[in-house]
Amino acid sequence: MTTVAIARYGAGNVRSVELAVRRLGAEVVDDLEAADLAILPGVGSARSAMDGLGDAADVLRVRHAEGRAILGICLGLQLALDESEEDGGVAGLGLVPGRAVRLESERVPRIGWATVDPGGEAYWFAHSYEAVTDATVATSEGHAAIVESGAFTGVQFHPEKSGAAGLRFLDRCLSRA
């Protein structure tokens, strides 16, 4: 059985992520170092999230250096970058070269279901910042939607809230881990 550990930093809708991976048959464990997949969830603001991560930040850096799977969701993707311009500038984990910048979109926050290409599947987004990185492998309306760097995968959308399509995406992450 695939084991999953979720990085907890106070904020974030951890329960929905936990319920989703359990639904897919994975076991949720506490050990961020040993789990097959580490998930960095994300809801909230960049500064409070980085402050809340504490020691988990180094555990994630080591995991990444060792090429072991990490999935960053929404803010979790943005935290993996070098920096974010949110909250007047916040240093990120530096797992993926790039930065998070204020979203330029007709309506901000950008909330709702939007298609991700390649693939053409629609997922649910809710964000005010976006990742700018060369590691982008899929986009949604011109915004980074999926980022891959080594064993790190980051998604701007919420697979745990994207119905059947989201569960299929999470299932692929679990089977790769």
């Binding site: 904020a11 809708n13 951890v14 329960r15 929905s16 319920l19 989703a20 639904r23 809801v43 909230g44 603001s45 803010l75 979109s105 007709e106 309506r107 901000v108 926050p109 950008r110 909330i111 709702g112 279901w113 939007a114 629609a122 649910w124 987004f125 809710a126 964000h127 005010s128 309306e141 919420h158 745990e160 809230k161 994207s162 119905g163 059947a164 989201g166 569960l167």
Partner: protein, 244 residues
Amino acid sequence: MPLPRLIPCLDVAGGRVVKGVRFRELRDVGDPVELGAAYSDGGADELVFLDIAATVETKEAAVDVAARVAEHVTIPFTFGGGIRSVDDATALLEAGADKISVNSAALARPELIEELARSLGTQAVVVAIDTEGGRVRSHAATRDAARDTVEWAKECEARGAGELLVTSIDRDGTQDGYDLEQLAALRDAVSLPVIASGGAGNARHVADALEVSQAALLASILHEDPARLVTLRDELRELGVPLR
């Protein structure tokens, strides 16, 4: 822009979905989890649960409903009704809700919007505005809040709201169509997503609302019947509305 959203609204009280006339004569119409899951299967883009009793006793029941919905529904949902503090809101998000909605409490103390946005993130904070003749109503629309609707919408945005849920009290329950003029004024005044509410009687009304808003809240038009959502989606597609 993300796709236009259809958002069924379920009124809850004491852990059940209820239907009533002007908050009286409440009738039990089902289990929030079963109905929510059926709407999700029927193609709902999100769900809204409104605790219409919103008393101290129902607060715990509301968190319990949010927790049970999260276990069975894998689309986003918003919880509103009786939220007066960051603690109230946090309990609902930790249970699995994605957004919370505030109305009278934000009118009474607008700083609440800032506190919620700082703690939960802007995208989780919906401000519900009940409007009649361009003026804001409070306390389940029973009182005049002494505020202009457009000015209040701008203030909500400035204070960190992530979305506005705008109910036209003039139209609510009439099935005569949404207040498109008010919705267009709000679209021009703020850059937040707006959820239109109040007045939907047919697919054309919903399609018109989605021209000026990012989402449509569906209440009486569905009659608590998930099968109606399926036919409504078909009708909207025929009218050229790009749905998920």
